[in-house]
Each structure stands twice: as structure tokens, then as C-alpha cells.
């Protein structure tokens, strides 16, 4: 078989078949298409403002390593004018986290970006290892998810940053869409396909990789020789999410476009009126000031449970989100303060209403 | 150790009979060594000896594929220890596929 020319430049030899488009392209055109598609995602959605301070959620894994690389590249190439930082969360899982943190530190040197590391232990007084000891391996994902979210926001706020970018890719978004349908969670269904989730009292979060295939991220890292640490969590993931993940992979093998087809479906859905009115109103947690739909935010409830030894009861929608007696030596989460920049931004930004699709 | 046997009537529904030579009902004998034969033994015997092809459409590991219902004397096997349910002589075991039900 004679070598085929690249379908984009018609010049060089095709080396890669892109799963996203089915086109056969050369390395250079692949890099170009990969990077510029992300640039288009960012600019079409007016994601950033000039001069903004942005934290890149860095786990040491492929998504965040490539994200750091691409953000730095595009920031310079297209003159976004952003101040970029790396923000890494140490969940306190022995062995697993140590290596990935080394990768993040290498990223700091490679891209000359300031790095902040915030640990669960520092923030909550508990590591994931201790949490798993206390609650077992069935619900540990709930704890980790809730704690990580707050940790990222607090880490950003401490740097006076009000915008976080994460490496959630198209496969992740498609999987989350399916999970929300399986759970009947329509309010999250609309929001999980937004490129940026904004709110009055929350840190903005954006996903520049929303339309980027996971496979292509691996291909990019491979050809650009970016090293990363495989971040499969050693604590087994929810069985339910495992079903969704396998389904997506099998769909992709059958018809590669299904990953973005799912995202397309979700973008064109709207919640019916009745459900919108029933959604709970947001308020501030009485104990730590973080955003919450109840008196106490989820993290405070979970932490309270850990401290009091009643952690298993804190899981699930029926859990009581109510303050219990706390003595002076029961650990609580420090007060959360929104960064000044966010307050300034809210005066000029139009907040993107969570209920509409992009 | 002596062999314990059970005479069973097995029925297939929901299109499953196609896997078993288009037979809707078969009579067979299931046996086990030194203990009472269970549904697990029956499923294994059916998969080993009565399916000509595509046995993975009936059995997965040592249980039936998702989508296949199992009734023992018209009672859901979920109420009776499932695979470990012990069988009696003359029991009627029904396997119904709910795939492609329309």
C-alpha cells in the first residue's frame, strides 16, 4: 500500500487516523487541528477575559498534562493575556498520589508555571486512606468527589483566582451525560455540557477539552512526547459508572462519532418548566460559607460524620443536612471567601444561567 | 459419595427456544455428587449438552445472561436462592428471554 497523503495539507504522509473525524492526517496537521479546535471551543464560548488569573487543575494525569501544555501554547499563540497557575490536590492516597505529584512538579518546571498543592489533610484533617478505613470502599467516591471540588475552589480562592480549567474531555462529558440520565438528574444534565459553569458565588469552571476525544489526547501526548502518570484510582470506582464507561467505549468502537453525538443530544435538551421550579435554591453553608442547597454543605456534613464516627449515615439523598453539636475539638472546615476578582467580575459579567443549554 | 438425581421439565420462552433446537419443552435428568442438584447444575448441563451454538447467549459465567428470567414452578428464582436453589423431582423450570420484547 503506497503511503497516503494527509487529507488536510495533501502534502505530507498521513500517519494518524483521527477517531473524531475519520480523516487520515500527518502529525503536523494533527497537532494543528487538535490545538486549533480547542482554541475555537474556547473563543466561541467567550471563555476567558483578558488579564484573568486561571488555575489549571493538575493531577499529573494525561488530561491535565496535555491541558497545561495546550493552555500555555494557546495563551501565547493567540495572546489570551492570561496568568496561568497549576493547582494540584493531594487526596492522601499512599503510593498513587506520590508519583503523580512528581509529574505535576515536572510540569511546573517544563511550562514555568507557579504551582500550588493543597491536601485533604491540610484542609479537612483526613486523608483518603483514613476515610476508606472509616467508611469502607463502597462510598469513598462520594467523599472524594465532594472534598475535591471544595478543595479546588478553596485552592483557587487562596491564590485570588476565580476561574479553574479542568481536563474533562469529550469521553468524560458523554459519560456524565449518561450517568445523569440513569440517575434522573436533569438539572445536572443541562449544566454538564456547558463549557463554563458560572454562578454568583462559585468559582467558574471551564472544560476546554469538551469536544476533544480522550484517544486524541493520548495521541497528542504520545507524539509530543509529554509524559504523564496513569491516574486510575486504586480505590475501585462506582460499579454504576463502570457500566456507563464500558458502554461509551463499546459505542465508540461501533460508530466513532457517538461520543460527540451524545454531547450534541444533551446540548439540545431543555428541562421542562415544572422541574425548574422544583429545584432547590442555593444558599451559603452555615458552618463554612461554601455554596450549598441546605443549611450545611455536603462537605461539612460528610466531615461531621467522619468526626463523629457516623460517616456512613451521611451518604445519600436522605441524609440530614443539619448541624449537629460540635465541640471545640471537632474539626471543621475554615470559612470560605470568594476571591476579590470574582466579585469584580460579577459586576460586569452576565452570569450564565444554569438552566439553559449552551 | 452417591449420585443424587432429579427429573425435571424445562421450558423456554421469549424466543430462547431457538438456541435449543426450537424445542419449547424438554425433559431431562440432572445429577450431583453427594448433595442435592441445584439450578446452577441445571444451567451448566443445558449449556454443555443442549445448545448447539452461541452458548454465550444463554450463559455468562455460571449464571444466565442478563435479560433471561428464571422461574421454578412459576416462582421467581430471586425469591429462592437463585443459583443455589435446590431442585426437586418433577420441578418445572422455565427460562424466558425478555430481549427484543415488543
Amino acid at each position: 500500500m503506497p503511503p497516503r497523503p494527509c487529507q488536510l495539507c495533501s502534502n505530507n504522509r498521513a500517519m494518524i487516523k483521527r477517531p473524531k473525524t475519520g480523516q487520515q492526517v500527518c502529525k503536523e496537521c494533527f497537532f494543528f487541528a487538535f490545538e486549533e479546535e480547542i482554541h475555537k471551543t474556547i473563543s466561541d464560548a467567550n471563555t476567558f477575559k483578558r488579564g484573568e488569573r486561571v488555575a489549571i487543575g493538575a493531577s499529573g494525569g494525561k488530561d491535565s498534562t496535555v491541558l497545561a501544555h495546550v493552555m500555555k501554547t494557546l495563551n501565547e499563540r493567540h495572546d489570551y493575556g492570561l496568568e496561568l497557575f497549576l493547582l494540584s490536590i493531594d487526596e492522601g492516597i499512599t503510593g498513587y498520589r506520590d508519583d503523580s505529584l512528581e509529574t505535576v512538579k515536572r510540569n511546573k518546571e517544563q511550562y514555568q508555571l507557579p504551582l500550588k498543592i493543597l491536601s485533604y489533610n491540610e484542609l479537612y484533617g483526613w486523608t483518603m486512606d483514613r476515610i476508606v478505613e472509616a467508611v469502607g470502599k463502597k462510598n469513598n467516591c462520594t467523599f472524594c468527589g465532594v472534598f475535591r471540588r471544595q478543595a479546588l475552589d478553596r485552592g483557587a480562592s487562596s491564590l485570588n483566582i476565580s476561574h479553574i480549567v479542568t481536563g474533562h474531555n469529550a469521553d468524560d462529558v458523554a459519560e456524565t451525560v449518561l450517568m445523569n440520565i440513569l440517575r434522573g438528574d436533569v438539572s445536572r444534565l443541562g449544566r454538564c455540557v456547558e463549557i463554563t459553569t458560572r454562578g454568583e458565588d462559585t468559582i467558574n469552571r471551564s472544560k476546554p477539552f469538551k469536544y476533544t476525544y480522550e484517544k486524541e489526547i493520548v495521541m497528542y501526548a504520545y507524539f509530543k512526547k509529554l509524559d504523564y502518570f496513569s491516574t486510575e484510582c486504586i480505590y475501585s470506582p462506582e460499579a454504576y459508572r463502570g457500566f456507563a464507561r464500558t458502554y461509551i467505549k463499546d459505542l465508540e468502537a461501533l460508530r466513532p462519532s457517538t461520543i460527540i453525538d451524545i454531547i450534541h443530544s444533551a446540548e439540545n435538551i431543555r428541562i421542562s418548566e415544572v422541574v425548574q421550579d422544583a429545584l432547590p435554591k442555593q444558599q451559603k453553608c452555615q458552618r463554612c460559607g461554601y455554596i450549598s442547597s441546605n443549611e450545611l454543605c455536603k462537605a461539612c456534613v460528610l466531615l461531621q460524620g467522619l468526626e463523629k464516627g457516623t460517616a456512613k449515615m451521611a451518604i445519600g439523598s436522605k441524609a440530614k443536612h443539619v448541624s449537629q453539636e460540635v465541640s471545640s475539638d471537632t474539626r471543621t472546615i475554615p470559612m470560605f471567601k470568594m476571591p476579590d476578582q470574582q466579585v469584580r467580575n460579577n459586576q460586569t459579567n452576565q452570569t450564565n444561567q444554569a438552566k439553559q443549554s449552551v | 459419595m452417591s449420585s443424587v438425581t432429579r427429573n425435571l421439565n424445562v421450558e423456554f420462552g421469549g424466543g430462547l427456544e431457538i438456541l435449543f433446537n426450537h424445542q419449547r419443552q424438554i425433559k431431562l435428568v440432572v445429577s450431583a455428587q453427594g448433595r442435592n442438584p441445584t439450578v446452577r447444575d441445571l444451567i451448566k448441563k443445558l449449556a454443555d449438552e443442549h445448545i448447539n451454538e452461541r452458548r454465550e447467549l444463554f450463559i455468562e459465567g455460571d449464571t444466565v445472561r442478563p435479560g433471561i428470567l428464571v422461574l421454578i414452578n412459576d416462582c421467581d428464582w430471586e425469591l429462592r436462592d437463585e443459583l443455589d436453589g435446590e431442585l426437586e423431582d418433577g420441578d418445572v423450570v422455565v427460562f424466558i428471554s425478555t430481549l427484543h420484547g415488543g
Binding site: H168, I271 | H100
Partner: protein
């Protein structure tokens, strides 16, 4: 990140991962408390008799919430495939249409003078499938007054029924285009992927059912009449449909009537009474309450006994039945989700409809895909693509997925002309309105 588990604070009350299946606490029939239980539904156990009775009761309750007790309709339409769900539906409709005694007094539930069964014969497009007319006649023998309408899917694009305005020409990786040449294939061409063929079959079948009911109602009751049409979609089936539609890029359509419990289509009142009923309940009821000689028939589909990874629908079915086994409330949760969502576009009068499936379609089906992927370098011309504009995203994807062949002209059913017409009307009406503002091309030389 490999663990993408964003737990945001605000979520639907009650939205959570469905619970794992648990063994019931006590071993008693929830109704009579005496006979041994034989089936568990959610958290309740039922003995055989109470289960059958509760099934009729559940249907009666649904029925009375939609139909007044002493009304007698001229006709009920029901779509019957011959499979377990439609057999179940027929049985329950039969109990409604027969007079029954209630507690003390004589209760006559809402009923109809005539039942019209619509059967779509798929045997000529699905390899190995049979015509089930005889079986269906057995199933409806005991109805007081019944008529069977049989329609052959394979006739819907031939002869007088064929489309005259356009054929779709597909090429792999290229958008479909209009052609006036003779058709060289149909929508079940063996070189189309199984995923595409099964989607086409579902679309055509759905249209044929509605159109046959409409035609019959026109002649029996008049052109603007309305009548009930019952579909036997179960909770399991609607869950598969919703997830499969999401995966095909037509996820929005499920909120627009396809999975609503009631909707109006073609002027008919479409009811789906079984949306809360799982395939397991249907199988048990059929075994307990229906005589052996008139049981359901499972006909071959494109994926009967194929491995799970052979098509999108088959893969989705596999996911749903696996989930149902470990987490039994999955299907009811997902079925309810369908009720909470709707189409985010504008569905106004004259909205552009997809030529093939008739659902509202965004302009330029491939525009969204082109927006998120770079498939040509700057400076190259966009190919003009008139017919791609006429398809919705889902139908467009069906004709251009990896297996599509080049230089094929697909024959279309005649009703696609109506959908195509609607687009032309919209454009010319719009033009009329703005005519006096249009500047001649020769005068326009700025920008």
C-alpha cells in the same frame, strides 16, 4: 482526569444512583398475606393471583385517569407487533372493553365500539423475520369487534407511495446530497450499518402506524377527527430508546412525544400506558394470564442472537438489562427522566422538519460537526450541500457513518415530500415578507 466525578451541590431532590437490588424483608404476599409469593416488584412481593389482579387493577387505574367510565368511543387503534408487550396490551385492553362486575354494582369501564389493530409487517426487510398475521388473528379472536390493518414496510417507498421530489445520495464521510437519478438502494441496504438500518426501521414503522390510523380515522370519522392510538412501549423499551437516541444525536426527540405518556401526533391521541411497566412484569403476566395457544411471538430483528456489540440498539439493550438486574429501579427512573426534558429549539409553525423522520431539525445538520472539528484548512471552499440542510443530525449521521457506501441513491417514502414541502413554503413566505428590503446583488459591494 481519570476520576471525573464532579459532585456539585445543587441537584434534583431524589436524584441518586438507583439502589442495588435487595432481598425483601418478610416473605409474604403484600396483598393477601396468605399465599406464597412468586414475584418481587420493587419492594413488594406478590403471589400469583394477587399479581394478576394487581396488574389489571393498575391498568384500570391508568385507564380511568384518561377515559371517563361510561364513554363509548367509536374506535380504539392499537399498534401490535406480535411481541410480548403488545400481547400484554391487547389482553388488558380486552378486559377494559368487556363489561365487568365491580363491588356490588355493575361497572362498565370506558370502552370502544371497535378495536382496530395496526400491524406493520417487517418480514421483507429483516432477514429471517416472518409475517405474523395469523398469530395476530389468534390474539384478537375474542374481541367483540375487531379489524386488522396490515401494512408492509417494504411497500412504503414503492409505486404510488414513493417520494417524487428527492432521493438521498450518500457517500462515506461526505454529506448526503440531492439527486434526481433513479434510486439504486433502499434504506435497508445491506451496506448500511446495522445501527442505521434499525433506526430506519423504527422510523418507518412509527410513521406507517400513524398514517394508517389517520387514513382509517379519516374514512370512518372524518378528516379532522381524533381517536385514541395505543402503543405498547414498556419502561424497559423506553429506557433503551432514550439512551439509544442520545447516542445517535437525536436525544432531544425523546422529549418531544416519542416517550411522553400522552401526545398528539397526526391529530391522533397517542397513549403509552405501559411506560411504568417493566419487561419482567410483562413476561410474568403473559405466562400467568394468557392461554398457551395465543401467546406472544418473538419475531427476528436485525440483531436477534447477535453479540452485544453489533449495533447501537443491541448494545443499549444489553446495558439496560444488565443494569435492571442489579439495580431494578433503573428503568422507572430513566422513564421518568424522559418526562422531564424537552426540545430546546423553537418548535413554531413552519419550523423546518427533517425530510426523513419529520422531527424538527436544526439548520444544516453537519454545521455543528463542522464547528467542532477541523476537516479542511482555511481558504478552501465549503461544498454546497442542499439536501444535507434537509436532514436532522440523527438521520444525517445514519447515512454517513463509517459503513455508508458512495454513489448510492436511496429511495424514500412519499410522506417525505410533505416534510420537504414545508421547508420550501417557509423560505418563500419569508422572502415575501422581506422582499422590499432586499438589495440587488449588483448594488452590494461593501464588506
Amino acid at each position: 482526569m481519570s476520576c471525573s466525578n464532579p459532585q456539585s451541590e445543587v441537584k434534583d431532590p431524589g436524584a441518586d444512583i438507583p439502589e442495588r437490588r435487595t432481598k425483601p424483608k418478610n416473605n409474604q404476599c403484600i396483598k393477601c398475606k396468605t399465599a406464597a409469593p412468586v414475584i418481587q416488584i420493587r419492594h413488594a412481593l406478590y403471589c400469583r393471583e394477587c399479581f394478576v389482579y394487581a396488574t389489571s387493577g393498575k391498568f384500570l387505574k391508568w385507564f380511568l385517569s384518561n377515559f371517563k367510565p361510561n364513554d363509548v368511543h367509536p374506535v380504539f387503534y392499537v399498534a401490535v407487533s406480535g411481541g410480548p408487550s403488545s400481547r400484554y396490551l391487547l389482553q388488558l385492553l380486552h378486559t377494559q372493553m368487556s363489561p365487568r362486575k365491580g363491588k356490588g354494582s355493575f361497572i362498565r369501564p370506558g370502552s370502544a365500539e371497535k378495536l382496530v389493530v395496526i400491524y406493520v409487517d417487517q418480514s421483507k426487510v429483516v432477514p429471517g423475520a416472518e409475517n405474523l398475521r395469523n398469530h395476530i388473528e389468534d390474539m384478537v379472536k375474542d374481541f367483540p369487534s375487531v379489524e386488522i390493518i396490515e401494512a408492509d414496510v417494504s411497500e412504503s417507498w414503492k409505486g404510488s407511495q414513493a417520494s417524487i421530489s428527492a432521493y438521498l445520495s450518500g457517500q462515506p464521510g461526505q454529506p448526503p446530497s440531492a439527486t434526481a437519478s433513479e434510486p439504486t438502494a433502499d434504506l435497508f441496504d445491506s451496506t448500511l450499518s446495522t445501527s442505521s438500518q434499525e433506526s430506519h426501521l423504527a422510523l418507518l414503522t412509527h410513521h406507517i402506524i400513524l398514517r394508517e390510523a389517520r387514513k382509517h380515522a379519516d374514512s370512518l370519522l372524518g378528516k379532522d377527527s381524533t381517536a385514541p392510538l395505543f402503543l405498547g412501549t414498556s419502561a424497559t423499551r423506553v429506557t433503551i430508546k432514550l439512551l439509544s437516541s442520545m447516542s445517535r444525536g437525536r436525544g432531544w426527540s425523546v422529549g418531544s412525544g416519542e416517550v411522553q405518556p400522552e401526545s398528539t401526533q397526526y391529530g391522533l391521541n397517542v397513549y403509552q400506558p405501559l411506560l411504568n411497566t417493566s419487561s419482567k412484569e410483562i413476561a410474568y403476566y403473559n405466562r400467568f394470564a394468557i392461554p398457551a395457544h395465543s401467546q406472544a411471538v418473538v419475531n427476528r430483528s436485525f440483531t436477534t442472537f447477535s453479540p452485544p456489540k453489533s449495533s447501537i440498539d443491541r448494545l443499549t439493550e444489553e446495558l439496560v438489562v444488565s443494569l435492571e438486574r442489579g439495580f431494578p429501579s433503573t428503568v422507572s427512573t430513566v422513564a421518568r427522566t424522559g418526562n422531564k426534558i424537552s426540545f430546546a429549539g423553537e418548535t413554531k409553525e413552519g419550523e423546518r422538519l427533517c425530510t426523513l423522520c419529520g422531527w424538527p431539525a436544526r439548520a444544516k445538520a453537519n454545521e455543528w460537526k463542522n464547528g467542532i472539528a477541523i476537516t479542511k484548512l482555511a481558504g478552501e471552499e465549503d461544498e454546497s450541500n442542499p439536501l444535507a440542510d434537509m436532514l436532522c443530525y440523527g438521520c444525517y449521521t445514519n447515512l454517513t457513518d463509517s459503513r455508508a457506501r458512495s454513489h448510492v441513491n436511496y429511495a424514500l417514502p412519499g410522506w417525505t415530500d410533505e416534510y420537504a414541502e414545508k421547508q420550501k413554503v417557509t423560505e418563500s413566505e419569508m422572502r415575501k415578507e422581506i422582499e422590499d428590503c432586499l438589495i440587488d446583488d449588483n448594488d452590494n459591494d461593501n464588506e
